[in-house]
Point group: C2
């Protein structure tokens, strides 16, 4: 489909009637070449459609200036904001980003990781869909000293850096907050508990119950996929409970908002009868009425920090093994959905 | 940083005590090699960390199996949903995607496009931040017959395919709908009018006013950046107008929702005093009260169609020049924010 002929420095040299060495030095902005010549070479290179021969250079340097990105889902508020942060830093330092999503399939996740390896990325940025039972799928990266940085959902492998928030503490704080507002039966709605962020949030919820003198009760733990639809279903489920909760803490805002909306439409008074809290500070949390108490997730910053750590490692400024975990600041934002004064 | 030694087929051959040719054929699943041998070779290749030498292959075939993606902003509902659709198709056909965002900077957009060219993408998927005055920045792609597909925001160059929705018609329909609900002073809030999607929506709005016997009035056109903040400001602006609008059509849901919320908090009755409509069917449109009338934007499908067209072109199944524009189905969803019955 493409034209066969690739423009080389020899073609440019011929057209300008100068040596190939001069063209090469000009393109590299070598100071031994006059500004006028460099400008002339660049203009001709552009006109002729010359492309830096990054493949040949890659073969030589073994570097591709490419970072691989593996996430569960590209179109979520948190993930797309993290990616925007990653791109910000990567483009500043001249790195490309190759993206992939697993869509909840462990098989696709593994195949994405393999694809990144075959694409010879210089480093990998990963948010795993589920907790990896072992790190075998990253062995080839570790064996070749290709750095791997986990974000959002950390992993416990000592060869990698984690950039995360303190999910346990945030969940603890938000549950304590609901208890302080007078809630005695606090329900927790969350995702797959084999995923460490949900496991950590659930542990924080349970610890806060205990420290508030409340007992954990199985029928107050609801596990679903945290989607819009799951939120509506959770609301309908609560409406049918004989012994209803008087507080709900959902592991994301989207699910919390649609659950709250379903209850409200059925006449439940929020926060008087049921107080609500979510997680992420997603735009819906500021639109739902009453506005949703939530955790301010520093998504954009997380993307920037993860990318910077990886690039610093690649440039030799630091190594990802020095610190095993970077915990970003995050905190509760208390809003009308939980304030009973 | 990386280990120097790259595993070759010769290393695998030596370990298995077979010929390099047999290794090579096994890795390519050549039928002349027994299944047992092929399995043995694949297992050893995996164990030794062998990587398909895609660079060398790239140099030979001039293909990278990589698609470049240029968008204004990665973290918007529409764009992240489109990207999810693109990834879906690309990964199915074995293509990598390199992403970039221009963040409203024409300079960064041009540099992103150049970077994609230097990365030797097989094809380019583009949503321009602003209407390009000319297509010069894509000349190098056209010169090399590298296909370019524009999505969301089309372009008029005959060498490219556009995958878009009918922004003019949607804006026309939604404005007519507001007029039919009794609105006589309909305000339009929109983005930079030099961007074709906003220009088209504005033309549709004006045509609908005319066909409804309403006159266009300069003070009913508000141009901002359609963010959350701009929505709040628009609401405050409306509150201060002596001759207020009785209908608002905003070019995205996010801005519409925050504008509506600001007015509601000030005691304005929606839709009775001011009817509202947005665009995109963003999750906030289903959370805001009253729920927002909007246009159902087929984001995920747009990503899938754009990627499929590009890949079909690359595989020779079709060319992007055959059809200049593919218009996806989109339609109004009328909700409580505009229904006055």
């Amino acid at each position: 489909m493409k034209e066969d002929k690739e423009i080389t420095i020899y073609d440019i040299a011929r057209r300008l009637n100068i040596s190939a060495a001069t063209v090469s030095r000009s393109l590299k902005e070598h100071q031994s070449i006059s500004t006028a010549t460099r400008k002339k070479v660049h203009a001709m290179a552009k006109e002729m459609g010359y492309r830096t021969n990054s493949f040949a250079r890659n073969l030589r340097t073994q570097q591709t200036n490419t970072l691989g990105l593996v996430v569960p889902r590209l179109n979520s508020y948190v993930v797309s904001s993290i990616i925007a942060g990653i791109e910000n830093i990567a483009s500043e330092y001249g790195y490309n980003i190759i993206i992939s999503q697993s869509l909840g399939s462990a098989k696709k996740e593994t195949s994405n990781i393999n694809m990144m390896f075959d694409s010879r990325v210089d480093g990998l940025l990963v948010s795993l869909a589920y907790n990896a039972k072992n790190m075998d799928k990253f062995k080839m990266f570790f064996d070749k000293n290709i750095p791997v940085v986990f974000f959002d959902r950390g992993c416990e492998d000592p060869r990698s850096l984690n950039v995360v928030i303190d999910n346990y503490q945030n969940a603890y704080d938000i549950t304590r907050h609901l208890a302080e507002q007078g809630c005695r039966r606090i329900m927790h709605i969350t995702g797959d508990l084999s995923t460490n962020i949900y496991e950590d949030r659930c542990r924080g919820y349970k610890a806060a119950l205990q420290d508030s003198g409340l007992s954990f009760n199985d029928d107050l733990l609801l596990v679903n996929d945290l989607t819009e639809k799951a939120g509506v279903e959770a609301g309908n489920h609560i409406l049918q409970m004989t012994n209803k909760p008087d507080g709900v803490f959902a592991a994301n805002d989207n699910c919390a908002a649609y659950c709250l909306q379903t209850l409200k439409e059925a006449g439940v008074k929020i926060p008087k009868e049921i107080a609500f809290a979510g997680f992420n500070n997603d735009p819906v949390s500021r639109i739902i009425e009453p506005n949703l108490t939530t955790v301010n997730y520093p998504c954009h910053e997380m993307g920037e920090v993860a990318a910077k750590c990886l690039i610093d490692h690649l440039s030799g400024t630091r190594t990802v093994h020095n610190a095993n975990t970077i915990i970003l600041r995050s905190e509760i934002i208390a809003r009308a959905s939980s304030l009973r004064n």
